[in-house]
């Protein structure tokens, strides 16, 4: 079972913070600080490809100088593009499957069924007014039978 701990975990958190950085003005946390590494660990234990990809990226990152700046993450991406894409996809999945993160973008926190969203139907007169110019053009199709 994979469980990135200690230095590896710190490094993984730092990379994740670069992938999805925070928006401090709107209180939106970065991916590392939100704990998305836990999601990745759980996923990696079901998915050996992802596990190998993250481990390879961490090994490479340990050899790169300059902390975990955007430049360093870009170097990682260039050196191990396939592994990097796997990590990126899994990070987006972990981050945006969090109901509280969805809500930051105007999407409901709740499971969408049974509640859904209240969208009022347009009154018939609004639709009639909107469609009036289309109706005014008259029939708009070819009918070989007529």
């Amino acid at each position: 079972m994979e469980n990135w701990t200690g230095r590896e975990r710190t490094q993984l958190d730092a990379i994740l913070d670069q992938l999805i950085p925070a928006n401090r003005d709107r209180n939106i946390p970065a991916a590392g600080e939100l704990g998305i590494a836990d999601f990745l660990t759980a996923e990696a234990n079901q998915n050996s490809d992802l596990c190998a990809a993250v481990s390879a990226l961490l090994a490479k990152a340990a050899k790169l100088e300059g902390g975990t700046s955007p430049d360093v993450v870009r170097q990682l991406e260039a050196a191990l593009p396939r592994e990097f894409k796997k990590l990126l996809i899994a990070t987006y999945k972990g981050y945006y499957s969090r109901p509280d993160m969805r809500a930051c973008f105007g999407v409901g926190e709740h499971p969408v069924h049974p509640e859904g969203y209240g969208v009022p139907p347009e009154p018939p007169e609004v639709i009639a007014e909107l469609t009036a110019p289309v109706r005014a053009r008259g029939p708009f199709y070819r009918d070989p039978a007529r």
């Binding site: 987006y92 969203y117 110019p133």
Partner: protein, 539 residues
């Protein structure tokens, strides 16, 4: 193991299998349907979970090669720019379809006569119109009557809300003077027959936990099962067998839930496995009489595969568009560029469909059916905060022309979990389609700007969507000539007189609209023709 013979054996419990079973109910024949998947239970709908979006990339992906569930068969799409997507189970692909419900137009049935391409159908719009109406009633279709793009008809229920996004785009269409209309949808705008109206959840591809969407798991199958149609699930048909003396289909061999091979005899066999599953089954059913596949003396089984290749253009608006609120695919539809116009440099045409935007995860991963994550880092922040909530888009859905080299064959190595050879897709985009998509992208851009978009998001390549193989048509086409078609004008095989095909594979051309309302109208029409011709059915 052998079972008691039945009168009618239907293979596949999707859109078309359910519709023809309903039509044949009144004959009081003994009807059995064999379906390789199972019923979807209420707990299986991911939209009741907090992390519902994850299912879209796993067990509820539209792509069987991603899902890899027991009932799925793999599809080799390496030689195609589009991969077929589906659902295998009671309801078929209407489980995860999006419920957009436009009819084909009168000209779609006469493309050879009108435009010199494709072939004319042996049926026409006006013959099918009453069957569209019956099916709309059975399914519960919402929409607005009086669309000048069609001969007059009125859907049984009022339209679903077009929402802020639909209204914004509609104003743009009016500004340009172009046709548009609220989409017909097989989605309830009002409670009906014990089914709940749509709650605008926006996850129609994850099944509809409300029962509002017109999947046959909610519409036809409850009626059929209570009327005595036997539905045997987790039963995968391996081959259709023929009697060597009579040349008639005598029944099938299928793998049951126990994995064992069972025999089922029937007087009449109806294939409803969709545009990929049906040619696969016929090609897997070769025999001494039919060495190239059952009912394939024309050589047309598997050929002329058509999709609706599509592309999309997205605009960024000043106000949030709330694109995730409401059914995924349907708000409004423009058919301004549907009919042929020689000045455009291509024949036939396309529709502009308003696409609602998706939920944040799906957007971040590239959009529905696309595996191309958006940038990371500062750019990611900018896109998610300042672009994503403000999006409205148009999808260009083009008419594919039938071309013999686009086809379904059997893969020499790949098999499903029962060891049955899997389908292989060979498909490339035609030049006409390419021109059409480019024209569509340009018009969609103009429209979004007219509707108030402050910026258009460019596409980085000229590729069509990989997982756009939602509509699979043409691989066992209808026709009057047995040398160039597989079934006649009412779905009966030219070669095997008690074998019928009722799914999208019998389409002659594709039109540029989602096909399911036409697939089901055709299945009802074929059922009606069987009843009308019952005395001389096998002559």
């Amino acid at each position: 193991m052998a079972n008691e013979p039945v009168d009618v054996l239907i293979i596949g419990a999707g859109a078309s299998g359910a519709a023809i079973a309903w039509s044949l109910l009144e004959t009081r024949m003994r009807i059995l349907c064999l379906e390789q998947g199972a019923h979807l239970s209420d707990q299986d709908f991911p939209s009741r979970r907090e992390d519902y979006e994850l299912a879209r990339y796993a067990e509820f992906s539209c792509d069987p090669n991603v899902r890899q569930l027991k009932q799925d068969y793999p599809i080799n799409s390496q030689d195609s720019c589009i991969t077929p997507v589906n659902w295998n189970g009671v309801g078929g692909s209407t489980i995860n379809f999006l419920g957009h419900w436009p009819r084909m137009k009168p000209s779609d049935f006469r493309t050879r006569t009108l435009d010199g391409v494709g072939e004319d159908w042996p049926v026409d719009y006006h013959t099918l119109a009453p069957f569209y109406d019956i099916n709309d009633q059975n399914t519960g279709v919402s929409g607005l009557g009086g669309n000048p793009g069609y001969p007059e008809y009125t859907p049984p229920l009022p339209p679903i809300p077009i929402g802020k996004l639909g209204q914004t785009l509609a104003k743009g269409f009016n500004e340009m003077g172009w046709h548009w209309w609220p989409s017909d949808v097989s989605i309830l705008s009002q409670d009906r027959d014990g089914r709940q109206k749509c709650v605008n959840a926006g996850t129609c591809d994850l099944g509809c936990a409300a029962g509002a969407k017109g999947g046959t798991n909610f519409t036809y199958w409850p009626m059929l099962e209570s009327a005595g149609v036997e539905l045997r699930t987790e039963c995968r048909v391996r081959e259709i067998q023929v009697d060597e003396n009579t040349g008639f289909a005598k029944g099938v061999l299928y793998h049951g839930p126990d994995g064992q091979l069972h025999e089922q005899k029937a007087e009449l066999v109806v294939v409803a496995c969709n545009g990929v599953g049906t040619p696969r089954l016929l090609l897997n059913s070769s025999s001494k009489l039919f060495p190239d596949g059952l009912a394939n003396r024309s050589g047309m089984v598997g050929k002329n595969l058509m999709f609706h290749p599509l592309t999309g253009v997205v605009g960024v608006f000043d106000e949030p568009m709330k694109g995730h609120e409401g059914p995924m695919a349907c708000s409004i539809l423009s058919q301004e560029f549907y009919e042929s116009d020689p000045s455009r440099g291509f024949v036939r045409g396309y529709g502009l469909h308003s696409g609602r935007s998706t939920t944040p995860m799906t957007y971040a991963l590239g959009g529905y059916g696309i595996d191309n994550p958006i940038p990371w880092g500062a750019e990611h922040r900018e896109i998610m905060d300042n672009v994503y909530p403000y999006l409205a888009g148009l999808t260009v859905v083009s008419e594919d022309l039938p071309e013999e080299h686009n086809r379904v064959t059997l893969d020499p190595e790949l098999t499903d979990s029962d060891g049955i050879p899997a389908p292989k897709i060979t498909y490339r985009l035609g030049e006409n389609t390419r021109k059409m998509l480019k024209h569509g992208e340009e018009r969609a851009t103009e429209l979004l700007l007219a509707a108030g978009a402050r910026r258009i998001l460019g596409k980085s390549d000229d590729k069509v969507w990989w997982r756009a193989g939602w509509h699979q048509m043409g691989t066992c086409r209808m026709g009057d000539n047995p040398e160039t078609s597989v079934v006649n004008g009412w779905g009966r095989s030219h070669d095997v007189k008690n074998l019928f095909i009722v799914d999208g594979s019998i389409f002659v051309t594709a039109g540029a609209v989602n096909p399911t309302s036409t697939i089901q109208a055709l299945a009802l029409y074929i059922g009606d023709s069987i009843k009308t011709n019952i005395e001389t059915l096998f002559d």
